[in-house]
């Protein structure tokens, strides 16, 4: 029915011309404005950094109290806007973001690491790999590739991330394939204050033959 009505409307050349010149440009302009606002809402600079625990009037009061007096009204207005307007709207967009995995959150390189952390890979008593060490660069292209590096970084960080098991297993499998005589594999995280001339072992993941179970020590 609707299709027939639209067809009748656009069949006439004058109607078609009116649609192309008067209606579609406005529709397009409105859609572009809507998309631009949606992008801004989903990944709004500054607002996106407001911690999730600020969600009640009391938490806003506590947060505002930490800022200088002259800026408090503006600070309060921004946090209130975030909690009551932007965040609820942005959360409505999450299902769409999830399907396409396009979360609009742009936290790029906010700060460098607070310490110099390095990954060392040992097979028995042989050092095979050390981060940024040309003399010990086994598996270097893989470990520094952009997709694997975050996992390696998680392994050398304090909590080990959630991928230490899979990553250590991956390294152990590679070593066992290339060096079947190996009995112990260790992934060591060394930490040093900047500029990195005092490295100390912070923690390590160890896998030993015959069961090769991964243990953090």
């Amino acid at each position: 029915m609707l299709h027939e009505a639209l067809g009748a409307c656009t069949d006439h050349p004058r109607n078609r011309e009116r649609l192309a010149n008067d209606v579609l440009p406005h529709l397009r302009a409105a859609l572009v404005a809507l998309v631009a606002l949606t992008l801004l809402c989903a990944g709004a600079p500054y607002f996106d950094y407001v911690p999730a625990y600020i969600r009640t009037p009391a938490s806003i009061d506590r947060e505002v109290a930490t800022s200088p007096a002259w800026v408090r009204p503006l600070h309060r207005a921004m946090l209130t806007f975030e909690v009551t307007v932007r965040r609820p709207l942005a959360s409505r967009l999450r299902p769409i973001e999830r399907v396409f995995r396009i979360a609009q959150s742009w936290h790029l390189y906010r700060n460098g690491p607070g310490r110099v952390a390095r990954l060392e890979i040992w097979a028995d008593d042989t050092l095979l790999h050390r981060s940024l060490d040309d003399e010990h660069d086994w598996l270097e292209p893989i470990l520094r590739s952009r997709r694997v590096r975050p996992v390696a970084e998680a392994v050398v960080s304090a909590d080990g991330g959630r991928s230490e098991l899979g990553f250590t297993r991956f390294v152990v499998d590679r070593i066992r394939t290339e060096r079947p005589e190996t009995r112990v594999v260790e992934l060591r995280a060394t930490w040093s204050p900047w500029p990195g001339d005092e490295p100390e072992l912070h923690h390590k993941f160890v896998a030993e033959a015959p069961d090769w179970k991964v243990v953090r020590r």
Partner: protein
């Protein structure tokens, strides 16, 4: 208000050569394609895109993953589908359906191995979705070898707007965590980033003496990111020169894979005024974009 709206309608529909958008299409799809092929070259496709329970490198998956409970070969097939779809986008073959397939399949790879799916992946997928119906496949494709067509200008506005959001958020985020970016730090943030042994290429001890230079570069980085609103003005291409230099610098001092190239793939839109002018000067015979206004936005 009516006058403002009329101006907005005119700006969004203003005809412009398809050349910058066609270049963007080719570059974005090619960068993503090469990045995926690099994983194949490293021989770790099956290790990365495999559920943790089945022996994958990643320790977790996202709730959006449809592949986690399926046999490993399905993930490999998804990888293959992503490659083919991206190649179609680059070549301009069945572009809209290929784009949606590429985005959905690539997103599934990201859901299956979240640590390896970074901000640049999210940004490029967003761009593919935004530009899917921009008419960017009306030039430089297998079927249409030239770039004489004109399209409406709205995709340019959205790409530049997106870049402003990303750069501004990035700049504010830096200041949010530390004032070292704009102060005088013992170890400037940029020094720590590019000499981080896990991601940087510079040795922290060897480059210790150059910390003042890194502090100046830290200031410049924040200034550049917070001034990205210039992309929405006629100074956009000039800003783009400095932005492009920053990405080249990041590429030379860090190992971030496709990050720099992915960002630069969007820069044909930033440099669009110059690209269009150069193309018009180099090839004056074809009808100019303005002459083809009636076809704009198809």
């Amino acid at each position: 208000m009516t006058r403002l709206w009329s101006r907005w309608v005119e700006i969004t529909g203003r005809p412009i050569s398809v050349l910058p958008l066609a270049l963007t299409r080719i570059l974005v799809a090619t960068v993503m394609l090469l990045d995926l092929l690099r994983v194949l070259q490293l021989g770790i496709v099956g290790d990365l895109w495999r559920a943790p329970a089945a022996g994958g490198v990643g320790g977790f998956t996202d709730e959006g993953s449809l592949l986690v409970d399926l046999p490993p070969w399905v993930a490999l097939a998804t990888y293959g589908v992503t490659l083919v779809a991206l190649a179609c986008v680059a070549l301009g073959v069945a572009t809209p359906p290929a784009t949606i397939v590429a985005v959905l399949a690539d997103a599934q790879l990201g859901h299956l191995f979240p640590p390896g799916d970074r901000a640049i992946d999210r940004l490029l997928r967003t761009m593919l979705l935004l530009l899917m119906f921009s008419g960017w496949d009306r030039g430089l494709t297998l079927r249409v070898r030239d770039a004489r067509a004109a399209v409406a200008q709205w995709p340019h506005l959205l790409v530049r707007w997106m870049l402003v959001i990303v750069y501004t958020a990035s700049g504010i985020g830096k200041l949010w965590v530390t004032h070292d970016w704009v102060g005088w730090a013992r170890f400037p943030p940029l020094y720590r980033i590019v000499t981080d042994p896990m991601a940087g290429t510079l040795d922290p001890l060897r480059w210790l003496a150059f910390r003042p230079a890194f502090q100046v570069m830290s200031w410049s980085t924040v200034a550049l990111e917070l001034s990205s609103f210039l992309l929405l003005t006629r100074f956009g291409p000039w800003w783009g020169i400095v932005g492009a230099l920053m990405h080249v610098g990041i590429f030379s001092m860090m190992e971030l894979g496709m990050f720099s190239w992915g960002m630069l793939a969007l820069y044909p839109v930033v440099f669009a005024p110059w690209i269009v002018r150069h193309a018009r000067t180099a090839s004056p015979t074809p009808a100019s974009a303005a002459d083809q206004g009636s076809h704009a936005g198809r």
